[in-house]
């Protein structure tokens, strides 16, 4: 009896263990796929923080994500007189950078030479900043002082303290610095890591000693906003594009919701001449590529919808949001989704309302629409995603000025802005990540609707 009992226990334990191992194997596979699907984004997002995202070999190590650097940046920014997160070099303040070099045996130990360079930021801004006041003209390097010297293998390790003082009456938001050492002298460490090490390690260069932690981490993201200004209005282009994208998306979502449910209801429940033909045509239109219709649509907008806009004193609808919106009030797919949904609802309520004397409009507004909430939820998300990500049609309609661009077209223009010569991938990646954020947040919050939306447009019916 006891042996029997032991035996059963044994088997139970084995089954249990096996089940756990099965689950473990599945999780392992799932994790591998996660790396495949998410890794790309995360790595792109991390690299968008780097000074040079194209550095070879690519590595996960990001200076901008090291606690040691954050502390160093914070301390320097505090010395500058403003906050540690958003820093400044205020009048009368002094900042001091500590830096350690290794001098190999045989190399003469001389302190590094410090230069405050005059740098322009980006191409777009430089044009507007001709009378820029350079920090270099107002602050001075007070002293370069040796603070310690220790013997190490094959050489000497020497630490210096470099103090910079702002004795002018002005405050500055940036303080770049270049340190030059003789050849073969090795940079070891500093209060925080330099942004670049150039010329075989002879030059260590910092973009901004007093910027504060946030601008330090999101350096490229700040560049995206700060370096692109509109030629005509002087406003920040990237902010304008975000605003444009939100405006167009929200308007189109609203028109789509209203008009798609109206048309969907009519197609699903009302009898009228040519209903079936219309439905076949809608299906047909869903298969026809946008490239077939865009030339005519371009002309229609150019001529102000057959000259109709002239009645209101308008002209061409090219390069206007009106044009972009009016040509995409409601898509065939949206109507299709709503039609399929309304067809799936029971008829009883509608019929009894009709017997009670309700009109078609009343039935639609008071009975059908409230029932359509789940479909409308899915449709909202689908439309938002579709319009936010739309590329081809805005590319055709919005060509100039750059103030009129949506985010997708604006990002495309980044390829020109930051690719004269070598690609400056930092701001390009940063811009891409920022523009994906709203949709990713929306997705995380409403992911149920995303999945439902796909099923609605695909499976139902």
């Amino acid at each position: 009896m006891k042996i029997q009992q032991n035996y059963t226990n044994d088997i139970n334990l084995k089954i249990k263990r096996r089940r756990w191992m099965n689950v473990g194997a599945i999780y392992l596979i799932l994790l591998l796929f996660s790396v495949l699907f998410m890794g790309t984004f995360l790595f792109g997002a991390m690299s968008s923080l780097k000074d040079n995202p194209s550095k070879w070999p690519p590595t996960l190590k990001t200076e901008q994500l090291s606690l040691k650097n954050w502390i160093g940046v914070y301390i320097l920014a505090r010395q500058g007189g403003a906050g540690g997160f958003f820093g400044e070099l205020k009048s009368g303040h002094e900042v001091s950078l500590q830096i350690t070099y290794k001098y190999p045996t045989g190399v003469e130990i001389i302190p590094p030479e410090a230069i405050i360079p005059k740098r322009f930021k980006g191409a777009g801004r430089a044009a507007l900043d001709l009378d820029k006041e350079f920090t270099a003209d107002f602050v001075e390097i007070k002293l370069i002082e040796e603070i310690s010297r220790t013997s190490v293998k094959n050489g000497t390790q020497v630490s210096y303290k470099i103090s910079i003082v702002n004795s002018s009456q002005k405050d500055f938001d940036e303080l770049p610095i270049d340190l030059v050492v003789p050849y073969k002298v090795k940079f070891k460490k500093a209060t925080f890591s330099p942004n670049r090490i150039e010329r075989l390690g002879m030059v260590q260069s910092w973009n901004n000693l007093v910027g504060g932690v946030i601008p330090y981490i999101f350096h490229n993201h700040f560049r995206v906003f700060n370096e692109n200004y509109s030629r005509s209005t002087g406003k920040r282009l990237f902010t304008t594009w975000i605003y444009n994208s939100f405006f167009i998306t929200i308007v189109k979502v609203i028109t789509t919701l209203i008009f798609a449910s109206m048309a969907g209801y009519a197609l699903a429940r009302l009898k009228f001449y040519g209903r079936n033909y219309l439905f076949v045509l809608i299906l047909f239109s869903m298969m026809v590529p946008g490239q077939v219709t865009f030339i005519s649509n371009y002309l229609v907008l150019r001529d102000g919808i057959f000259g109709f806009t002239k009645l209101f004193g308008g002209g061409s609808l090219l390069n206007t949001f009106t044009g972009l919106i009016i040509s995409g009030l409601v898509g065939a797919t949206a109507v299709f989704i709503m039609k399929q949904f309304f067809e799936g609802l029971p008829r009883e309520m509608e019929e009894s309302a009709r017997i009670d004397g309700a009109s078609t409009y009343q039935i639609f507004a008071k009975i059908m629409l409230p029932l359509a909430k789940p479909a409308l939820g899915a449709l909202t998300i689908l439309t938002f995603q579709g319009v936010w990500n739309e590329f081809f049609w805005p590319l055709v309609v919005l060509t100039s000025p750059m103030d009129k661009f949506t985010l997708t077209i604006g990002l495309l223009s980044f390829k020109n802005t930051y690719a004269s010569g070598a690609f400056d991938w930092g701001p390009i990646l940063a811009g891409a990540i920022i523009s994906a954020l709203p949709i990713i947040i929306l997705f995380i919050v409403f992911q149920r609707y995303f999945v439902e939306g796909i099923s609605f447009s695909g499976i139902k019916g």
């Binding site: 699907f37 984004f41 045509l281 229609v300 990500n389 590319l395």
Partner: protein, 374 residues
Amino acid sequence: MENRWSSLKEKTAPYVLLSPFLFGFIVFFSYAFIRSLYFSFTDYDLFSIPNWVGITNYINLFKEHLFTRALRNSLTFAIIVTTLQTIFALLLAVVMNQKIRGIKYFRTAYYMPSVTSSIVITLIFMWMFQRKGVINYLLTLLHQYGLTIGVFLALLAGIQFLLVFKEKLRGRQVEYLEPSYIILSIILASIITYVFKDFGIIKPIEAKAVDIFWLNTREKVPFWAGPFAFPRPLGAIMILNIWTTVPTFMILYLAGLQGIPKALYEAAEVDGAKGWQKFWYITVPQLKHITFLVVTLGLIGTLQMFDQVKIIGNQAPLESTITLAYYVYQSAFPGASAPKVGMASAAAIILAVLTLTVVLIQKVFSGEGRGLRD
């Protein structure tokens, strides 16, 4: 009077409800479609009055090298991407169709590539496909540690086989890919590989960095495929496109999988069907409708591929990436030279006809009696 008014209101109701949609549908689809068809038989250039030229445009198109290249690229792209993404989506859906804790989070994570815009994804991929980019770096690592990985995989297969064989000798029913043994095999194989490496029996190869031009090249891959080879930049776009579309189609398949009656699998198990037999004889046929939908949507999507070509732009030779959709755009808005709207429209009509034909052929071959999405 009151009655007549309300009766009129009822009669016109469908048209009133439809009117906003019909406005757009007539002006921006029907009219545009017919006008494109008309333009395709003219020499229109956006500015002067169009002249009727018959089918000259269509004939000229097939004489133009760039167009035939675009046609070929589009077809290759559509066939390869649709096939691969359908297979991957199905396999991924089967893996994801588990009732374990946290599966929802994984689904969310996997779906991420499908919600972001083509420009974001393409820019990130362009960065990864650089000469000194992530993809080439991973390939370099693969080259350097190829032997190590090979030894590991061989050990893994060997140990797994031994474990399963041992169980089989005892007369137990075990599958060769039994997951619980795989874990054990992975652990054992890792330990042995590590020991080998530690004793210097296997060493990473001192290889140069892989230097593949992914975008800026006219090279064709695979080199042995002869006339069926396609430009490597197109291959890069294929990889990126499969990566972004698989999750969407996976969700369609998941919904389908949940609709398959459990009884079918139970009956098959009673008859002694193994894992892959169940997959091949139950899952695949039961998902036939979904597969039709996935293939149709895939074909429509891939034949229209435009964004990636435009975004990659001059980073790759135009000839290597051009698709029909891009050809149409490029002919209508060529930048410096005069727009060839006639040619563009003809190419667009060919693209539309091609899409419809491919979907129809697909429908006939899959034996799907019902209409699209029906």
